[in-house]
């Protein structure tokens, strides 16, 4: 046993209760699975690869501290008072990242700035009614998961937080869950990112409910009207101001997304390079790695995690179905040929769902080029999800939560 104390990661397995030791092994195995799936490009490697490494390292690297306490040298998310926090900031190497970028939602905002700087809004501006109609339909999961989660026993703030998974927007889920249910933000965000990765494989099965002949409809992208660069810049500035005035609680998200968009449309090359390169990928890397390091054994021993896993599937399936229904309705009312697969792109996982729509269209008709059209609803979905995030945060947290004001506590 003495020799084992030299290898503390192994030694602590013997000191743990069987359930905790088993949980650690399970999370290490899950970390390896994430790494394998991201290496094979089945899951999104930008997030899942650093997350997998973080999970293996934090669950393997448990060690003994003074007074027989066990811990790691990564993060202590429970550090409460200032003295404790200062101690862990000097000991745990990811603590500064967590304290200064996670607990205030900054990391989500940084990712959003980068996303804004790479987002193409031409179709949204050329076809705003089509884009926003589909985006509204594709929020079905975000809406219906709220009462379903409450029926399954979650309190309103946690129910709203997991319902945001239906918006299929990782940084938004992270920001929303930090605001709404801080205790559950790690499992909710991980559930969101894992399922968003799985969307790429799952949605092609879901869209098979659309008749094959409709999936094969060709659309002429040359008919898309040109949008003046000035109009795109004006849209970014005016919409940002409009949404910030309506929802100050979600203003950091709106400001981050639209500042990226404004920089892109103004053509400030140095900023575009910075936001869409080092900032976006740096923030995404640390987001994945820190989330992995936060996935300690206490997370999976929480009985709510199983409920969150079920609700995540429900939210994304309902949103997908809503998007498909929107696509089918729009194909009926549209005067021009319209491929209803574009509806699935309105589930705003930019640009994954747009790529899924194109992949499914090309599978039945190689000439069907719908990707340019699909980007419009995809971007509109980011805006509608941000609006719902604002409504939910205003509804369930703060000085006077609207939900309790309307219905009482």
């Amino acid at each position: 046993m003495l020799i084992l104390q030299l290898f503390q990661g192994v030694y602590t397995f013997f000191l743990n209760e069987p359930a905790i030791a088993g949980g650690r092994l399970l999370l290490i195995a899950l970390g390896f699975l994430f790494l394998y799936l991201s290496y094979k490009r089945i899951l999104e490697p930008l997030i899942m690869l650093p997350m997998g490494i973080g999970m293996i390292a934090v669950n393997g690297g448990l060690m003994m501290f003074e007074a027989g306490q066990m811990g790691n040298l990564f993060i202590n998310p429970l550090a409460g008072n200032v003295e404790e926090l200062m101690y862990y900031l000097q000991i745990d190497f990811l603590q500064p990242i967590y304290t200064f970028t996670f607990s205030n939602g900054l990391i989500a905002c940084l990712v959003f700035m980068g996303i804004g700087a790479i987002t193409d809004i031409d179709i949204l501006l050329a076809k705003p009614y089509m884009s926003l109609f589909l985006a509204v339909c594709a929020e079905l999961g975000t809406i219906l998961t709220l009462p379903i989660a409450m029926a399954m026993g979650l309190p309103p703030n946690e129910a709203a937080s997991i319902a945001l998974v239906g918006g299929a927007d990782g940084p938004m889920v992270l920001y929303g869950s930090i605001m709404l249910a801080r205790d559950l933000f790690v499992p909710i965000t991980v559930v969101a990112y894992v399922y968003l990765g799985v969307c790429y494989a799952g949605y092609p099965l879901l869209v098979k409910i659309i008749p094959r002949r409709l999936r094969a409809v060709e659309m002429d992208w040359r008919t898309i009207p040109q949008v003046a660069p000035g109009a795109k810049f004006a849209f970014a500035v005016i919409t940002c101001g409009f949404l910030c005035v309506l929802f100050p609680v979600a203003a950091p998200l709106f400001a981050s997304f639209f500042v990226g968009l404004a920089v892109k449309e103004a053509g400030v090359l140095r900023f575009i390079e910075f936001l869409s390169g080092p900032l976006l990928y740096g923030a995404t890397f640390f987001l994945g790695f820190t989330l992995g390091a936060l996935l300690g054994v206490d997370i999976i021993l929480n009985p709510k995690v199983l409920i969150l896993l079920v609700l995540g599937v429900i939210a994304l399936t309902l949103s997908g179905l809503g998007g498909i229904a929107g696509g089918l309705i729009y194909s009926k009312i549209s005067k021009e040929p319209f491929n209803p697969l574009i509806g699935i792109a309105a589930v705003s996982c930019v640009p994954t769902t747009a790529k899924v729509a194109q992949k499914c269209a090309a599978a039945v008709n190689k000439k069907a080029m719908i990707l340019p059209f699909a980007m419009g609803p995809c971007v509109a979905g980011v805006i509608t999800t941000a609006i719902l995030t604002g409504v939910y945060i205003s509804g369930f947290v703060g000085e006077t939560p609207i939900f309790y004001s309307i219905f009482g506590s």
């Binding site: 501006l125 809406i143 219906l144 709220l146 919409t239 939900f403 219905f407």
Partner: protein
């Protein structure tokens, strides 16, 4: 409580729809203003040439 949350969810959906409509209106207004601006600019150039 579950029923209340269902009502709240529908209220949220309504709010989102109205705001989405406003966003679409903003886009259309901007397009109109930009189009008029371009027309005025073109008319100005024609006058100078005439």
């Amino acid at each position: 409580m579950v029923l209340n949350s269902l009502f709240f969810a529908f209220i949220a959906y309504g709010i989102m729809m109205v705001i989405a409509l406003f966003v679409a209106a903003i886009i259309k207004t901007i397009a109109l203003v930009v189009q008029r601006g371009a027309k005025h600019a073109a008319a100005g150039t024609d006058k100078q040439e005439g």
